[in-house]
């Protein structure tokens, strides 16, 4: 009942001519958390997907406790006690946590004795530091609870090596700390080893013992976290000394004209209950307004209602004309967005990268004359955007799911920000981006603002908000409960409002 020591040796994986992994070796010591760092597209996900049998490496060995293992399918990984928690949730939303756990078992009996299963489940989960309600439907859990439930599921399945691929990008910082803290304590007590993929240095520092940095598919640095400074890690990631961050362009005072004006907006959530309640706000030209709030307080519904993806009551006006999200209005008023989870919310997986880059302007010259598409121009545009935004992709005809998470994000950024933007609505635009790409995204958002665009930035990361915005609104239970200019914002006060309390 010991925790295995897992070693990857000389792993190489090609996708066509694209060398995703180049002779990578990795040792996960028993009972430790091993962090993987690297730029977007460095090969982190590919490496761990080899370890769970999802990809088959072209070369290399996997040794568990010194014994050579071949992993041909996720079943083999399962048998070795290796499991992965993905960035997106995999539980069935309409079933309770308990039901999800029981049916996730590999050998499901034909007849399920729910009573005894439940008893066993309570037994197993009682010993865990995680507290997840077992008899609640998954759809009713918050993001943090869902992520915990995913981990509980892995533990329930008897996994000894837990792989976490950017597990915290959908969590608030507090939730992330809690989840990772539990994982850390389970490794300390010798019940688990873990691989943690993250873009956040402070998480690596707090929750990992060892760290390996990948760059362009190769392992370039490995060692104990304590021996490496943040600067050393960053330098290893990008392969050159980190230049001191260029200071952001100076804040210009916003212009007087109101671009976005929302009056008495009401919208229902997927469950039919009111999610946005009588909400009003304004954003002026050249201004970034941030919306802070714990996820699930109506931000998603607010964005969808604004973009015409959700039924609503109330008025939304952009530059004085009413906006319902039709194609003509979008082009005329210049309303664009950076939705969260861009692979799902902003891309069409079964269309190519080039086509995805054309979603905004495929029906306008030069991509289209009359009704005839000009695919030559479409490819040309894609080449230009890919170069300009440094999107790393296997090819223009690749499907979006062949791109790494961060590169999907860049592709969407390229598509949205090269339009004539008058109003930009961004939801957690830096989830899953490496620090270079984060800076670049911030810079581009600021450029848009300085170019006179109005920006509404929804984020769960208070630091990110405070660093960028001119004004902060706090959203709680579907309403704006607090408003403050960025200069005089107090994190503690905002935190209280976020938690739904009135500040004293």
């Amino acid at each position: 009942m010991s925790v295995p020591q897992v070693e990857l040796r000389n792993m190489t994986k090609r996708f066509g001519a694209n060398l995703a992994l180049n002779n990578v070796s990795l040792l996960i010591r028993s009972g430790t958390v091993h962090a993987l760092l690297g730029e977007n597209g460095a090969g982190k996900s590919t490496l761990v997907k080899c370890l769970v049998g999802f990809y088959r490496p072209d070369e290399g060995h996997i040794q568990v406790d010194g014994r050579e293992q071949r992993l041909n399918s996720p079943k083999d990984a399962d048998a070795l006690g290796i499991g992965m928690v993905y960035q997106h949730f995999t539980l069935v939303p309409s079933m309770t946590v308990a039901q999800n756990l029981v049916v996730s078992g590999a050998r499901l009996p034909a007849y399920i004795d729910w009573q005894s299963e439940l008893r066993r489940l309570t037994e197993v989960t009682r010993k865990l530091p995680f507290h997840v309600p077992l008899d609640v439907r998954v759809s009713q859990l918050s993001a943090g609870e869902k992520q915990k439930a995913e981990i509980v599921k892995q533990l329930y399945l008897g996994r000894k090596l837990l792989i976490l691929d950017e597990p915290t990008s959908v969590l608030t910082p507090a939730e992330a700390d809690e989840v990772l803290g539990h994982v850390r304590s389970l490794t300390r007590t010798g019940e688990l080893s873990a691989i943690l993929i993250s873009h956040k240095f402070h998480e690596v520092r707090r929750f990992a013992d060892d760290v390996t940095v990948l760059r362009r598919g190769a392992s370039v640095r490995t060692g104990a976290v304590a021996d490496l400074t943040d600067d050393a890690l960053a330098e290893a990631m990008i392969g050159e000394p980190v230049s001191k961050m260029v200071p952001h362009a100076p804040r210009l005072p916003p212009k007087p004209n109101v671009i976005l004006s929302i009056r008495n907006l009401c919208a229902n959530g997927d469950n039919g209950l009111p999610a946005v309640k009588d909400l009003s706000l304004e954003v002026r030209a050249g201004e970034i307004v941030g919306i802070a709030g714990v996820s699930g307080n109506g931000q998603l519904e607010l964005v969808e209602a604004m973009m015409g993806q959700r039924d609503r009551n109330g008025t939304i006006a952009v530059s004085g004309s009413s906006f319902n999200g039709t194609r003509r209005e979008i082009a005329r008023l210049g309303v664009y967005g950076l939705p969260q989870e861009p692979l799902k919310n902003a891309c069409i997986d079964r269309m190519s990268l080039a086509e995805n880059l054309a979603l905004r302007n495929f029906d306008r010259a030069p991509l289209c004359r009359g009704i005839a598409m000009n695919y030559g121009a479409l490819v040309e545009q894609a080449e230009r955007l890919v170069a300009q935004f440094r999107v790393k992709a296997p090819g223009l005809t690749a499907s979006m799911s062949a791109l790494s998470g961060g590169n999907v994000q860049r592709a969407v950024l390229a598509r949205e920000l090269t339009q004539d933007v008058c109003l930009l609505v961004a939801s957690n635009p830096t989830f899953g981006l490496d620090f270079v790409a984060c800076e670049e995204t911030y810079r581009r958002i600021l450029d848009a603002r300085n170019g006179g665009a109005a920006v509404l930035l929804i984020s769960e990361d208070l630091d990110e908000l405070l660093g960028l915005v001119d004004r902060i609104l706090v959203m709680s239970a579907g309403r704006i409960v607090h408003e403050v200019p960025a200069e005089s914002a107090d994190k503690r006060v905002i935190g209280k409002y976020m938690a739904g309390m009135k500040a004293a």
């Binding site: 066509g16 001519a17 973009m307 039709t326 069409i348 079964r350 086509e355 979603l359 790393k392 090819g395």
Partner: protein, 358 residues
């Protein structure tokens, strides 16, 4: 930084490309189905080789066989398109039979008030009426899906039964020609309004109509912004809404156009073959169209080729019955086998794609 940016070199060609796979799989499926079918006829005490020989002969062996095949292929192309167009938008609509018979009925009655008019406008009118009613019928399935959340596959199938029942009700009641005794029919259309025969081919002009429509659909889906928008809608309604496409309109529009195709098929059958609307319209073209579209992977031009194949098989059924005494349904069995094999091949292809990715 810039060295890692941009496009990676083009990867070397994999063993089979996706395009090759999409041709190879249906072909393999047909071959497999043929093997099973051979075993089936052998059970009946027939020599499979003879049977396949007769199928080829009955479908493609003589100019008469070709004429029969081509005139069957004409409606099959259209009902195939009726499945393929909604498939672009992510819909599985299988109610072609109902749209076809109602379209035929509309075509049969729409010219009755106009005696002695010029033929060409009347012929256009028949096809238009068929398209309109067929479009309405599929449009209903689209509306139910978008506004009531009813699964379009099931609703279109049920609507198909309703359509057939309405057809019987009207041809046996209100619209029945009293002179049609043993087979309730509508009043026959003016013989001068019948679609002409294509010179040199010996097949009615409906074949040309369906070929032109197939080419038109191909061009629209492949080379216009409408085709692009439809694929976006089919790929993700959520993203389509984000970029401002009116998803409901696109889905219902695609359904209406598709239903129009099936309706035209019915009108052609009436205006070129039957001369009236009667139960001879209900011979399962609508269902064969599902097979045609799936076998052709919803590609309009491939639909033409597959329609020829299936049309030929159906044309040979009577020869098999006459020469070998095989039951009428033999060809239906063959068609069914092909369909099952296509679905299985699709599932295998899915797995193959996943393993080659590894």
């Amino acid at each position: 930084m810039s060295s890692i940016s941009g496009i990676e070199p083009v990867p070397p060609k994999p063993l089979v490309t996706a395009a090759q796979l999409s041709v190879a799989l249906p072909v393999l499926a047909v071959l497999l189905a043929s093997a099973i079918f051979a075993a089936f006829v052998a059970l009946y005490g027939q020599n499979p080789a003879t049977v396949f020989g007769l199928i080829v002969q009955g479908g493609f062996g003589s100019s008469f066989a070709w004429q029969d095949t081509l005139s069957r292929a004409a409606p099959l192309v259209l009902v195939g398109l009726a499945v393929a167009i909604p498939a672009q938008a992510g819909l599985v609509i299988i109610g072609g039979e109902g749209a076809l018979v109602l379209g035929g009925l509309a075509g049969a009655v729409v010219t009755l008030p106009f005696a002695g008019a010029h033929a060409f406008p009347m012929q256009c009118l028949m096809l238009l009426a068929g398209a309109l009613i067929g479009g309405l019928w599929f449009g209903l399935a689209g509306v139910l899906r978008q506004y009531r959340g009813v699964n379009e596959t099931i609703s279109s199938l049920l609507l198909s039964y309703i359509g057939i029942a309405v057809f019987h009700h009207l041809t046996e009641g209100m619209l029945r020609d009293p002179a049609s005794l043993d087979k309730p029919s509508t009043h026959p259309i003016d013989p001068s309004y019948m679609l002409p025969t294509l010179p040199g081919v010996g097949v009615h002009a409906g074949l040309a109509v369906s070929l032109l429509l197939a080419i038109a659909v191909h061009v629209v889906l492949r080379y216009t912004r409408w085709g692009f928008a439809l694929r976006v809608v089919g790929g993700s309604a959520r993203v389509a809404r984000m970029i401002g496409l009116a998803v409901n309109r696109w889905i219902i529009g695609a359904s209406v156009v598709a239903g129009g195709m099936a309706g035209i098929a019915g009108a052609i059958e009436v205006a070129a073959v039957q001369g009236t609307a009667n139960s001879s319209l209900i011979v399962g073209y609508g269902y064969s169209g599902i097979l045609v579209a799936f076998l052709a992977r919803h590609q309009p031009l491939a639909i033409v080729a597959v329609a020829l194949l299936i049309g030929g098989m159906q044309a040979s059924a009577s020869l098999l019955q006459r020469r070998l005494g095989l039951p009428d349904a033999t060809m239906l069995v063959f068609q069914g086998l092909i369909f099952v094999c296509v679905l299985v091949a699709d599932a295998i292809a899915q797995q193959l794609r996943e393993t080659t990715r590894r």
